[in-house]
């Protein structure tokens, strides 16, 4: 148990790689990813859990990384947008977003894609209502959402399994 205000060590797995970081316990998971690990694919939008730009998967559950104090991620498995592609081979969801015009300015895209992957992990072939609900915590100011919904449906049609 860490009781001092000094920094502490937190060990977790990020995109399959074990990491140990020296941090302040109240540091946000978002800042640790971006500033300490240089994983800047995770974006900060509102900083208060409203927009979903900072969404990552923590032990398979979609979370807003701006609302997770790093100590609560001790021992967790984190998946960020950087962990999806295999080398130059895009993940099926990324490819579907490209093919359907689901990404425009790109700020919401990493969070949107992780929310979409989370949805498909629960429901392999979601209907439109389920897609809308699954992405309802992720805001986009460019697309009007229709291309994003289409991308998720397309990834499901292509049988995205992961």
């Amino acid at each position: 148990m860490n009781t001092s205000r000094a920094q502490c060590e937190v060990s977790l797995t990020v995109n399959g790689k074990p990491r140990t970081v020296r941090v302040y316990a109240m540091e946000r998971l978002l800042d640790m990813l971006r500033e300490r690990l240089g994983l800047t694919g995770t974006k900060e939008g509102c900083g208060e859990g409203e927009c979903g730009s900072c969404s990552v998967l923590m032990d398979g559950a979609l979370v807003n990384s701006c609302l997770v104090p790093i100590l609560q991620a001790q021992g967790a498995e984190i998946l960020t947008i950087e962990g999806l592609a295999q080398g130059a081979q895009l993940h099926a969801m990324q490819q579907a977003f490209l093919d359907c015009g689901g990404a425009q300015c790109g700020i919401c895209t990493p969070g949107m894609i992780l929310a979409a992957c989370h949805l498909l992990s629960k429901e392999a072939v979601p209907d439109l209502e389920e897609i809308r609900e699954g992405l309802s915590g992720n805001l986009c100011r460019c697309t009007g959402y229709l291309q994003i919904f289409e991308a998720v449906a397309e990834a499901a049609r292509r049988g995205m399994t992961k």
């Binding site: 148990m1 946000r28 979903g52 979609l62 979370v63 104090p69 100590l71 609560q72 915590g137």
Partner: protein, 289 residues
């Protein structure tokens, strides 16, 4: 202004007993944080006055749902996602299940907890009217022992509760006696996800031999605390639902609430909508027999 993490202390003892000992040693000093969906927002805005926090996230003692013959015991650390995926909650407490679906978005449902929502004590919280109509009871725990109380009396004023500085909510009990009731809920807001309600309602009722045999109505965002409409219930109970009764109930509800003007809506709009929601509930209830 963003907070500096170096100025805060956060500990994660990992079990309930250790958390309770910490609260007993320095009552009021340690702020419990569960999924952080409210505390971290205050922290981000530089508005968190507590400097010492103790994590309740994922404590196994708080994160289980136990079903017995006459009641369901929901650990205070259960998330909205936990509630949504529980078969008995979905089947027997549909008002709580729908409130869980309407709270935040999926990411907040994966982190926000029922106990956190109760202690945060927002009068706008979507799940709290459901707890009021289901006659929930709370188990509060501290180093001094446990006490069980009706949720109905828990909120005493805006953001004030009966929780002592050394206490935590351990669990929420729901009696399993509302199956077969007509239930009605609505969230009136800019949108369901990620929007805080202008008004929300949870209501339950049963009609037998053309009269209202049993009824419970609660509203959110219309008073300093989540509000059970006991006067309106008295007006309705034992009566046949006809247009005159709907009118009286609507009027009583509008008099019983204390809505305010704020960034999300106006007192006038909230009163009108509250009356309409009560009327819509009664019309549905009448048709349910």
């Amino acid at each position: 202004m963003r907070s500096d993490p170096a100025e805060y202390e956060l500990v994660a003892p990992g079990n309930l007993e250790a958390v309770i000992s910490l609260l007993a040693a320095q009552p009021g000093v340690w702020l419990p944080i569960a999924g952080g969906t409210d505390v971290m927002v205050q922290y981000a805005a530089g508005k968190l006055s507590a400097r010492k926090l103790v994590s309740l996230w994922n404590l196994p003692e708080l994160r289980r749902i136990e079903v017995s013959g006459h009641e369901v015991c929901i650990g205070a650390g259960c998330t909205y996602a936990d509630l949504r995926r529980h078969e008995i909650v979905e089947r027997e407490f549909p008002l709580l299940a729908s409130a869980a679906r309407w709270t935040g978005g999926i990411a907040n449902q994966n982190r926000g907890t029922l106990g956190g929502n109760i202690v945060n004590a927002s009068p706008a919280a979507d799940s709290l009217p459901a707890l009021l109509v289901y006659e929930a009871e709370l188990i509060l725990v501290s180093a001094r022992g446990e006490r069980r109380m009706k949720y109905l009396n828990f909120h005493t004023a805006y953001k004030q509760t009966l929780l002592a500085p050394d206490e935590l909510i351990r669990a929420v009990y729901l009696p399993r006696r509302f199956t077969g009731y007509f239930s009605y809920s609505r969230k009136v807001g800019a949108r369901n996800a990620q929007a805080i309600s202008k008004v929300c309602i949870a209501a339950l009722g049963r009609v037998a031999l053309c009269v209202v045999d049993d009824v419970r109505i609660a509203l959110g965002s219309v008073a300093p605390v989540p509000k059970r409409l006991l006067e309106t219930e008295r007006v309705v109970k034992g009566q046949a639902i006809d247009p005159a009764l709907v009118l009286r109930a609507r009027k009583t509800a509008m008099e019983e609430i204390r809505p305010i003007d704020d960034i999300r809506s106006t007192a006038r709009y909230r009163a009108a909508v509250s009356g309409n929601l009560v009327a819509e509930f009664l019309i549905g209830l009448a048709a349910s027999e």
